[in-house]
Each structure stands twice: as structure tokens, then as C-alpha cells.
Amino acid sequence: MKFSYYPGCTLKNHAKNFEDSTLFSLAHLGLEIEELPRWNCCGTVASLAADDLIHQLAPIRNLIRVKEAETTQVVTACSMCFNTLKRANERVRANPTELAQMNDFMYDEETPYEGDVDVYHVLDLVRDKVGFKDVAAKVVNPLGGLKVANYYGCTLVRPKQVAIDDTENPVVLENLVSALGGSPVEFPLKTECCASYRTVDSPNIVADKTYQIINSARSLGAEIIAVSCPLCAFNLDQRQEATLKYHPDFIGLPIVYFSQLMAIAFGCEEKTLQFGLHHFPPKPVLTGKGLI
């Protein structure tokens, strides 16, 4: 079964580590995906914050591109893009009038949108199309009990209509880490908000969040935190510098994408992991475990 792959803007530059490791892992798992030949920004921020229809055009237009690529399923790794695309999809499926208005506005498109594309997150595919048993069977470099705290933040589990797992206590990442040979660390703040775009105007709010989230994971024994969103990654990793300014007793932790852990367990080369894009270097703990 072929899936269209929607990369999103950030995975094409500042989160290249996320994209490279995802593509490597999906290929290793034998999942057939193909990047959409034409796509635009998922439309996030504006489309999540405002209730006017024009901001829903970006996500819906991407779903038209999926149809143009002659598939009906699109997968994305960035959980922010996922959330934006899926929310827009659920919204127009539930509101035919809105969908008609939007199609009418997009008279420049040859293909109308009819709510006929399904939006998936990479984790959906790994869990439901591959299955953790098969994932485990494909591991060539088990994570050696690496203690991973799995951070979902908001976009994978809220709102309920788009959640990929239980909204209160999701376990998909924990199960993935176990299948890869790591030891998931349960911690209470795994679905806490990272303060998201407040990072632009009030880094101090992000610093407080990062302080709480990383401290919680650390105090429960985590050696590393896995994430699924470039903005969470920015706030938890790049903002550790600011966190230290506001909280001098702060000790950081390395932040990686879940896809990077998959890629490591599947035996990727180090260049796929693009460690140059990280603020807190993940390399020491990974070499310490003999993983790279």
C-alpha cells in the first residue's frame, strides 16, 4: 500500500535530522511512501488559532495534492503538521457547508476536496501497519536498555478527534521504545504542553516548562527524551540555554526524535542522525551505551 508523504517545512531544514531518520526507518520497515511532488506549508498557527475559513485552505489544499498524487492516504512525521492536517480534515468532514465554501473559493484547483483522504502519523503506521512485533524483528542494533522518557506534548493527543492514542495516558512511544530494546521511563509530564509558540514572545514561560518537564523525566531516571515535534524539540533542547538562565540549578538532558532512536536501532549511519542540529549533544550518552 502506497502512502503519500507530507514532509512539512521544518523537516526540510532545521529538523532535517527528523526527516532523514524517519525516511531511513520507514524504508527499513518496508513501508512504501512517496513525497508529494507539490505541497505547501500545513498552515499551522493561523489555522489552529483562528476560526475563519481562509486559514483552513493550506491544510485542505495539501489534501487535494494527495488526491492529485493518486493516493488517498498521507503520512507525516511532524506531529504539528499531523495535527493541523487532521484537524482540518475532521472539520470539513463534519461541516459539508464549510467544505463547499472552501471548494468554491479554490476554483483554481481542478480536483475538489471531498473529505476523501486519510491523514496518518508515522507512529500510526509503525503501530498499526507494521506492528511492534515486526518492528522488534527488524532491530539490528538494540537500544541496550537506554532509559527513554517519551514526551508527547499536545499535538499527538489533543484534541480527542485527532489523538493517535489514549489522550490521558498514551503508550505508543513507550511500546516503540521497548520494541527497539530501550527501557521507557514513565513520567507524569509526558502530555504537558511545552509552551509552544510562546517561545517567540516569552521564552521565560518556555524556560519554566522545560525546567519542569526535563526535571521530572530526569528525576525518574531518564537518560534521554524522545519527541515527535520540531517545536517541542526546539523548546526542550535549544531553550535549555535560556532555562539555565532562569533556573541556575537546571541540569539538561539530550532531546532526540523518536525516529532517530528507530534509525539507530535499525543500524543507520551516523550522518543520518545529523547531531549538528542538536543543542544538548546526544552523542555522549549514546556512545556510552555503545549504540553509535
Partner: protein, 260 residues
Amino acid sequence: MSRTPQAKSRAGNKPQAVKPVAPKTRAAKAVLQDAPKARMVTVYIMGKRHVVPEHATIMRAIEYSGQQIIRGAGCREGFCGACGTIYRLPGDYKIHSGLACTTLVQEGMSLTQIPAVPMEKAIYDIEKLSPDVDTFKRLYPVVFRCVACNTCTKSCPQGIQVMDYIQAAKRGDVASIMDISFDCVACGLCALRCPAEIVQHKVGVLGRRLFGRYLAKESKELDTRIAEVQKGAFDKEYKSLMSMPKDKLSKTYYERDIEP
């Protein structure tokens, strides 16, 4: 065209090529008619009604109506982008756009030329930039306001997928900006209609400059040609062009080899 005496006599010279009665009668009849008058259409230029020849371009129609175009015309051949025009047609809610020099008038067309679109352009030293998303973020942060409405594409007289090159700028895909925006004539109509107030063509120029400076493959052919020019290989030809009378120069120009 064939309804002229010449046409008739030519037909007469080649009897085998002509089927008996019917064509001959048609040709004979045509000779009796008056020379056809130009058909006229009614257009509204900046709100004022004018009757102009049906086959006029918008630019010709404006001039036919007695106005002189000073700022809104340049090449008159669809290359310079000086003559951007917006128009509406009867019974159609859409705002259309076209280049006045290459778009024909239509019955009931209501039009306004927009010779210049005000905007601020970023000032930069191309040598000090990098061909990535951060450059666009710094010089034209406005691109991140794009909501993918595609109004810019709808308004482009060049038929460019304008939204797609703005989206490419949002992800630092300089090569795609180059490819997609290549035919932009900088008329600015897209910038005028964008609800996010983006200055698309300026972003396109930046993208193409970045491509040219940092990503374009070096061209050996170009280097060879420059060396030839410097050695004076074309001096003679250049001199003869410079001293050519205008009509001969014009003839030479239109008969030149044009790459397909």
C-alpha cells in the same frame, strides 16, 4: 483573405485545383462586397466608456481612446511587466489580470492599468547571504504570513504558480523558487492582491539571485564565450550592427535565429 481578385485569378490559373461551381461563385460574390469594417466593442477604461476595435490589445485600446501611455508601457511584447492590468467581464464576478500589451479587449471589459505597485524591497549584499530559509526569514519575514489562498496564482498574468514559489521560500527551497518564478515579469499584481501583503516578485528575485550566486552549475560554454568576446571575435559583427540603418537592423533582428 481569399476573397480578393488576386485570389480569384490565382484560382483561375490552376483549374485542376478548383472544384467546379461553388468556390467560384463564392469568390465572385465577395468581390462585390465593401471592404469589411473593423468590428467594434465597448470597453470601460478606468470607468469611462469607449468604443474600440475588436482586435485591439488593451494597450492599443487605451491609445485608440485618445490617451497616451507614459508609465504603463515598455517593451510592448510581454516581457517588461510595465503594463499590468486588472479587468472584469460582464456577468463574471472574477477579477482577471493581464499584460495590456498582449491581452485582447473583449465586449464589456472594464479595466484599469496598474503600472507600478508600491512596496519596500530588502537591501542586501548577495555576497553575504546563504541560500537557505534563514535568509528569507531575515529579509522577507512576511512570507510566513502566507495562508495558501492561492490568490497570487489566480492573479498572475504569466500563469506562474506564485503560491508555490512563496511556499518554497518558506522552506528555503531556493532551486524551486528559481524554477517556478523564472517567467515573472515583476508586474506586481500578485503583491497587490495577496491578503497576507507579501511582495512575491521581490522574494522571487531574491531566490533567483541566491540560485545564480550559490547554486547554479558553472557553465563552461559561458566561460568560452566570454573569452571569445574578450579576444574580439565579435568586434567586426558588432561594428557592422552599430552602423546599420534602422530598417535593415530591424529586418536582421526579426530574421535572427531564435532558440526553440
